[in-house]
Amino acid sequence: MRVSNSENYKKHLSSAICFAVFALMFFAIASYGTHTFAALQFEEKYEATYQGGDDDAATGIAVDGAGDAYVGGSSVYECVVRSRISPCSVIYAMTTVGYDANGRQKWAEGYTPGGVYFPLTYGTAVAVDPDGFVYSVGHEDTFEVWPLVIKYTPSGGTAVWRSLDDTLGGEFNPCNAQAMSPQAISFDAQGRIYIAATMSGCVASGVDAHFRVFRLNPDGTHADFSNTNRSAKYYSGGSGGGGWGKDRDYVTGVAVAPDGSFYVSGYISNYNATLGYSKEDWRVVKFKADGSLDVLWSSNPATRFDSGKNDRAEGIVVGNDGNVYVAGTVGVDPLNPYTTEAVKIIKYSSLTGGILAENTRQFPNAYMGGITKNPNGEIYVGSSNTSSINGVLTSSISGVIKYDALLNPMWLSSQWGFSLNSWRTNGIAVDGSGGVYIAGLNESVGSLSPSPSFDYKAFKVLESGTITPPQPPLAVSLAANPTFGERPLTSLLTATVSGAQTSLPQQNQYNFNCGNGSSTTVLGQSIATASCRYATSTIFVASVLVTDGAGRTATAITNIEVSDPSVPSGTISVSLSANPNFGQRPLNNVDMTAAVSGTATGPFTYTFDCGNGTGGASSSALLAYTAADLCNYPVADVYKAKVTVEDLTTNDTAIGTATVNVFGINEEPPF
């Protein structure tokens, strides 16, 4: 048989359409079948431990362009017999360790000024400048707390200079109880070094803890700010400081923007006359390039996040777009300072201090482990939590969260099984090729006396392909049609799945429960239906439980109101409506409106029953009557309100009903 060109064309066209449809189906199925994080590969590079005593802590880490890592912190390196009271006084050294790109130790320097005679010297942060030099900051705590900054050669750890000797510029004149303790370090575009410190003043002089930022040139000389003395300063209590009984301000981080302005994160320990220092508040401030406080930016309420409990901003980084990311722990019970509720990260506008984005991750007993960014401007936050039973450490888990620039989580390290049991992360760094480096403590879970060691660990995440952010959980809604009617009533239940599915939609299983003792199970895709028949008069609560192919479940409910068949009442009928007819408890001041129809002319008596034992009666000549604010519902339940209307001329009566759905606090409305 000869086939015309036209028929041939149609045949090819239909074949092409069929192919396209199958192709689309295939890709649709394939995309559903792809695991959310399948594109990620995790590779553990190495773990290195610095040999110390029984109380070593890495507090910071930095990585240079070659992948060499530098870890800073404190390490016990000796125990000397010193006195009868304290027979073994340990010596803490500000310790910096350099590692090559393969995790092999290049050098280690433990510094105490004067060796054993100054036994308490702690490291707090470490950084690498654009030329590869390593800076370690900390403080010496023997009689007063002296600030300390050391610049090391990257190759061998030789001290190029130390700033302890000139006390960071002569602005620090130690006196009793005065302390200058650097906590963070950052660089500007010219390679100048910004050191943020908490300065606690002399008790006698009435000056208390506040923020200080000093700036040094790469050769160790001071690079003073043009509009201040040697340092930039911030006091939460005003420029005069406070003294005992005033708020105390503690620095945690510093970051310099491309325009030379710089930001400091920290927290304010608020003083209460009754409770003393009882509450800590998140605080972020901005300084202009000349060192003066940007008062407008720093006064934005968003920079002072307050959960009502203790909140600490604990790290800061300037993003590639110039805006500022701050991470910290929030919701800490002031009476139990280790009961953190969540790790929070906020992106602030560099112009206003307003919030551009934020993300809160519930993480009980969490500790912050640093914040950093990669060359793409994506943000990494280290965190960990611990728990114990009767003093025995039962769990200590560290992890890393990666966010995109809008603070959508991209991955959690624990999602590929990397949760670092028995670790506490204190510092985090990344390189430009997927390497993530963390430093902290290695603890012995289950031990009565954990012996933290000075550790760091590096791993690499190969982010090939498209990374799908973690998605919302499975969710389902349920609707009935109709939702009310006289018995016998047949209602069609429709369940609609929403949220992210990690399995094929045709694997969804819906278990419908009509609420009258009957149930049915159906397989569907994103939508499924079931029919329910109700023979008795009451309010039925129908429900659906959906289970997807991955075993995840979601539920939803809805109400169906079935009433008795209407009884003819001569010439009068009435309908009742409630406003509002749903809401969270307590649902108060609900209006009841009765509308009479039929041939009745009135006057009428309207007798309302709220359905919870309360109500009221009124007379009116009108065909419609509203009893305003009549009903209050303090308890969550489904209420059947009723009105009885009587035509006082004919004595005919009619009844109308309405449903009021009161649900609990934090519950979603069941429709």
Partner: protein, 226 residues
């Protein structure tokens, strides 16, 4: 009479000697310039010279300036500082640049000297600015050694005397935390002290981790599980 061949040999030998001497001198005098413009090599040379503990090895860094820093001076200072601390020679302090650096160095050296000698007379020979800290170090050690806080009262300066008492109480706390009330500690440590005691009482090891004072945290970790 010497043969022409001998003359030629002699000429070649002399030429070789002159060349070797010249090249040796040239390379010796230009070691620093080899390192110029190569910070990695300069850093490695500095590391190597400092580790050698030989001051003469710093000469190879002559003229080498990296990021505004004279590497020969850095080398010399590292070695001299180490030697000074080994001998507790405060004369080294006078070589430092700024007045505050000199003061800090002399004070540190005096404290180290009296702790080593255990003799209060050591403080008589130190610079005036270092005298009170030196005496404080002496009486602090004596107070701890004799378990007698009243020895701190021998310090004439009231701020340093308070520092001595605070240090004594702090050490007493670390030795027997249950015997010391938090109100006895310096104001800045009372918060940590309260947290420490709550952690011990509740046996919540997380409480230890929230302590900012490092020795206190270490002790808390040791005690809370017992």
């Amino acid at each position: 009479m010497e043969s022409p061949v001998s003359k030629k040999i002699l000429f070649v030998v002399v030429l070789v000697i002159i060349t070797v001497v010249y090249l040796g001198f040239f390379f010796r005098s230009n070691r620093g310039t080899d390192l110029l413009g190569n910070p990695d090599k300069a850093n490695q040379a500095l590391d190597s010279a400092v580790k050698s503990d030989r001051i003469e090895n710093c000469a190879q860094l002559r003229g080498v300036v990296v990021s505004g820093t004279d590497y020969e001076a850095v080398c010399r200072q590292n070695i001299l500082e180490k030697q000074a601390w080994e001998k507790l020679d405060s004369g080294y302090c006078d070589t430092l640049g700024s007045a505050s650096a000199v003061d800090y160095c002399k004070t540190s050296m005096a404290i180290a000297a009296v702790q080593k000698s255990q003799d209060l007379a050591t403080c008589d020979s130190v610079s005036e600015g270092a005298r009170i800290p030196c005496q404080t170090a002496y009486w602090s050690a004596k107070a701890l050694g004799n378990s007698d806080i009243k020895l701190c009262d021998n310090i004439s300066d009231k701020d340093f005397a308070l520092s001595c008492r605070n240090g004594f109480t702090y050490q007493r706390f670390l030795a027997a935390p249950r015997d010391v009330a938090c109100s006895e500690l310096p104001v800045a440590m009372r918060g940590d002290c309260a947290t420490f005691k709550r952690a011990l009482q509740s046996k919540q090891i997380q409480g230890c981790y929230s302590l900012s004072d490092v020795p206190m945290r270490s002790l808390c970790l040791k005690l809370v599980g017992k």
